[in-house]
């Protein structure tokens, strides 16, 4: 009798152990409906959307050939294969990319994914004049297609039988794989109408498909049947998600969203917390339901180096010494992380340094050395809080430094068009921020400091041939350790020219209900919260 009893006890212990292990540790509930809120309604067409909200909404719905790793922090900046079998083979001259589409993929409507869908999708981006189409203008024939909108793009060869896709570029482009991983390059069925499909989103290839849209108010997702059937198995490195259904409501009042998450009526709010509630929520829920996240961005004051007084390096240095990131951290309610360089932490090639630690006395001394004859400056900022307050702070700091300042606060909807237009009068200096389209240092230097972008994104009007040449050279090379070092060096070189007075990286937050396992929620630095990582406890 003793042996059978011992065996019974052992069996019972094993069952209990299995039960306990399945309830805790890496466990958690599978299934359920995730209720979330957005403060605004994004365009739900991957080719058209250019907002951070839209990226989060479609990260797990529309897959390009490549995507960004479903991971937090710098790990999330890695490009990984999605619909493509592997990373592309790049020719020695850097102008030809060869890759193969995974065999057997399907869209959520059951249509097979074909290699020829890719060129059709890129053509659709050009037909729609998508913001992102410029990333693919280096493809042979793309510029002509952008003008004519007909005749196809000869630089993309696609073989439906083998699944092979060959892309020919007019010149080497070291950022091209990053650009292929953007939502603008989402593969959609050939023949998808070249119009905004937000009201009736195109079929999905990712783990979730958008099944219902009420424009401006709400949308919802369900598991993509094609993912269950084939795609999930074919793309085992991409997560399948835990919840079965996701319902998103647009709640414009952020305080209401906070309240709904606190009461458990909603499981997650996508928008940033209102400044008034930030400290309270952070203090009460940090670590359990709240977490600070670090997307890639830089907030800065630009100085127009093409006109007095900021054509003088000493003046720009003085301004850099005068700007106090600590004050700006408070203006951003503690949500800002101080920095004094171009590249943000988390970006490949980032190496921390600070050439201009805040020192008002030194700022005044340096300015007196420069002794600019023109001290009347116009400071530009937009009217969205706290950017307007950052602009007001900057205007006051320049006043204290010895300038005669006129503050111009203009509508955020037209702010960047206004300050990037060289015809605008009194473009001296002002507030701005930069969110790179993808996690690559070139996505900072090329738009902001290449002379060809004066009148667009080069707000400082910096025109340095040596810097231009270096940006162009590095832009053609694939990012490796040597290139990262060179970009880090460039970061320092640009700050020595001081066209910007950078002051920080703005954080966002993840705030979830007590039912959600916060530890498992992934925040990708490009796409934001990863909806496949949400899991009920």
């Amino acid at each position: 009798m003793r042996k059978p009893q011992a065996a019974l006890v052992l069996a019972l212990l094993t069952i209990v152990a299995i039960g306990v292990s399945s309830c805790g540790g890496s466990g958690g509930k599978e299934g359920g409906t995730l209720h979330g809120t957005y403060a605004s309604f994004p365009e739900l067409d991957p080719t058209i959307n250019f907002t951070a909200e839209g990226l989060t909404a479609m990260y797990n719905t529309y897959l390009p050939l490549y995507t960004y790793a479903h991971a937090d922090g710098q790990a999330g900046t890695e490009v990984v294969p999605a619909l493509a079998e592997d990373l592309p083979k790049i020719s020695k001259d850097g102008k030809t990319y060869t890759l193969t589409l995974r065999n057997g993929l399907e869209y959520s409507d059951g249509t097979p994914v074909k290699a020829s869908d890719f060129p059709a999708s890129i053509e659709r981006a050009f037909k729609l004049n998508s913001y992102g189409s410029s990333f693919y203008a280096a493809i042979v024939g793309a510029e002509k297609f952008a003008e004519t909108k007909s005749g196809g793009i000869p630089g993309i060869e696609a073989d439906d039988k083998s699944g092979e896709i060959v892309i020919h570029l007019t010149k080497p482009r070291g950022t091209f794989v990053n650009e292929l991983a953007l939502l603008y390059a989402t593969v959609l069925p050939a023949g998808t109408p070249a119009k905004n499909l937000t009201d009736n989103p195109p079929p999905a290839t990712g783990p979730y498909a958008i099944t219902k849209v009420e424009r401006g108010r709400a949308w919802s997702y369900e598991r993509n049947p094609a993912w269950e059937k084939t795609n999930g198995e074919l793309m085992p490195d991409l997560p399948s998600g835990h919840v079965d259904k996701i319902e998103i409501d647009v709640v414009r009042n952020k305080a209401t969203s906070v309240n709904e998450v606190e009461r458990g009526k909603s499981d997650w709010m996508q928008s940033i917390l209102p400044a008034d509630l930030y400290s309270k929520v952070k203090g009460k829920y940090e670590g359990t339901q709240f977490r600070v996240e670090y997307p890639l961005n830089t907030y800065f004051f630009w100085m127009n180096v093409s006109r007095p007084p900021f054509d003088d390096l000493k003046v720009r240095e003085a301004v850099n010494y005068a700007v106090d990131s600590a004050a700006l951290e408070r203006i951003y309610s503690g949500a800002l992380v101080a920095t004094h360089q171009i590249l943000p932490e988390g970006m490949p090639a980032y190496q921390a340094f600070d050439l201009y630690p805040h020192d008002m006395a030194k700022a005044r001394t340096v300015l007196e050395e420069a002794n600019p004859s023109d001290r009347e400056v116009t400071v530009w900022t937009d009217n969205e809080s706290p950017n307007d307050e950052a602009g007001a702070y900057y205007a006051d700091a320049l006043e204290k430094l010895g300038f005669d300042v006129t503050l111009k606060t203009i509508n955020a909807d037209v702010y960047f068009q206004t300050i990037s237009n060289p015809e605008t009068a009194d473009l001296d200096t002002g507030w701005a921020n930069w969110f790179p389209d993808y996690p690559h240092p070139n996505a900072y230097f090329q738009p902001n400091f290449a002379a060809e972008n004066i009148g667009y994104t080069n707000l400082s009007h910096i025109d340095e041939p040596k810097l231009d040449a270096k940006i162009a050279k590095l832009g053609e090379e694939q990012l490796g350790p040597q290139q990262e070092d060179e970009y880090a060096e460039m970061d320092r070189e640009v700050m020595e020219m001081a066209p910007w007075a950078p002051y920080g990286t703005n954080t966002v937050s993840t705030f979830v209900s007590s039912e959600i396992d916060l530890d498992k929620v992934i925040f990708n630095p490009t796409f934001g919260q990863d909806l496949t990582s949400f899991q009920f406890k």
């Binding site: 400290s279 702070y393 503050l407 606060t409 509508n411």
Partner: protein
């Protein structure tokens, strides 16, 4: 009463109206309060309306306190704990002195209210006189033009104009007003309220032009302009004064609304409307930032309105008599309705 001028009689009637006088005094006190802004800023608070104090500390009864704490919450009202500095606390994350901004903001609000009302009354007088006296096609043209403006709800029209002009500014011939100019909301408010004054003025001119003194002036060879300026305008004075006073209150309210929505007074200028909007973000943690300018605006508008009512009663007692007669008249009897 022989020898007493109508103005003197109006003054006596107004003096007897204690409620109106009380609110008139309140309005005068508010005006004095905002006019004293530089005195308070330089003599007591030792700061300007746009000076930031984000990282500074303030001594309160021997204790050092941050003007703005690490989470961005501004210091609350210190009354005289810091010698009058930050009397109403700081305005937000920039740490500007709320009291100083309240006083300067009041100057802007009153300035916008008074100047916009002057524009309204000036435009309405010219248009009302021309339409009412000339009649015919001039009347038709002016009246239909006013109808077009009238057709739009005043608030919506002002917001639409504010949105358009706050972005691109306003070009009137060689004169260019940038979008952040204080004159943009002033002009918008002045114009959108014009029909509401011009139409009653026109009606009154239509009645006056049939009176004997006008016929006498015409018989003596007076031209149209002379009749309008020398004969009709003085008789419109009491009406215009009352409309002006009411318009000041309405203009201040509209300015606040436009500024609250971001299409009125633009930074760095401040008004009570912009202060209410600025404080709204911190409504739960620092409600005084919204409540104090809101209460001052309410009191000012109330004071102007009640005083304007009293002024109307004093200047045109027949209007009051007519109202009282109407209110006290017995219901018609014996008529089937």
């Amino acid at each position: 009463m022989a020898g007493r001028s109508p103005w003197y009689l109006a003054y006596r009637r107004l003096r007897r109206n204690r409620v109106a006088l009380g609110f008139g005094v309140l309005f005068a006190l508010i005006v004095a309060f905002v006019l004293a802004a530089p005195l308070w800023a330089n003599g007591v608070a030792d700061t300007g309306p746009n000076a930031t104090h984000t990282l500074e500390r303030v001594e309160v009864d021997g204790e050092s306190r941050e003007v703005v704490n690490r989470e961005g919450k501004p210091v609350g009202p210190l009354w005289f704990g810091a010698g009058g500095k930050f009397f109403l606390g700081a305005d937000g994350r920039l740490g500007r002195d709320e009291m100083v901004r309240l006083m300067y903001g009041g100057r802007t609000s009153l300035f916008v209210g008074v100047v916009a009302s002057l524009i309204t009354v000036l435009l309405a007088t010219v248009l009302g006189l021309l339409a009412g006296y000339r009649r015919g096609w001039v009347d038709t043209l002016i009246s239909r033009a006013l109808d077009v403006v009238w057709a739009f709800p005043v608030t919506l029209l002002a917001i639409a104009l504010g949105l358009a002009l706050a972005t691109g500014g306003l070009q009137i011939g060689p004169l260019h007003l940038s979008g952040d100019s204080i004159w943009v909301p002033i002009l918008i408010i002045g114009v959108v309220y014009t029909p509401y004054v011009a139409r009653p003025v026109r009606g009154e001119v239509l009645a006056l032009r049939e009176r004997e003194f006008v016929e006498a002036a015409v018989a003596q060879g007076a031209g149209s302009i002379r009749v309008m300026v020398r004969e009709l305008l003085p008789n419109l004075a009491s009406t215009l004064i009352v409309f002006f006073a009411i318009s000041v209150a309405n203009s201040m309210l509209l300015e606040s609304l436009l500024s609250f929505l971001g299409v009125g007074v633009q930074p760095p200028n401040t008004s009570w409307g912009t202060m209410i909007a600025g404080g709204f973000e911190l409504i739960t943690s620092s409600p005084q930032l919204t409540v104090v300018p809101g209460v001052l605006l309410l009191l000012t508008v109330l004071a102007v309105n009640v005083f304007a009512d009293g002024l109307r009663d004093a200047l045109d007692p027949r209007a009051k008599l007519r109202l009282e007669a109407h209110a006290g008249a017995p219901e018609p009897e014996g008529h089937a309705v």
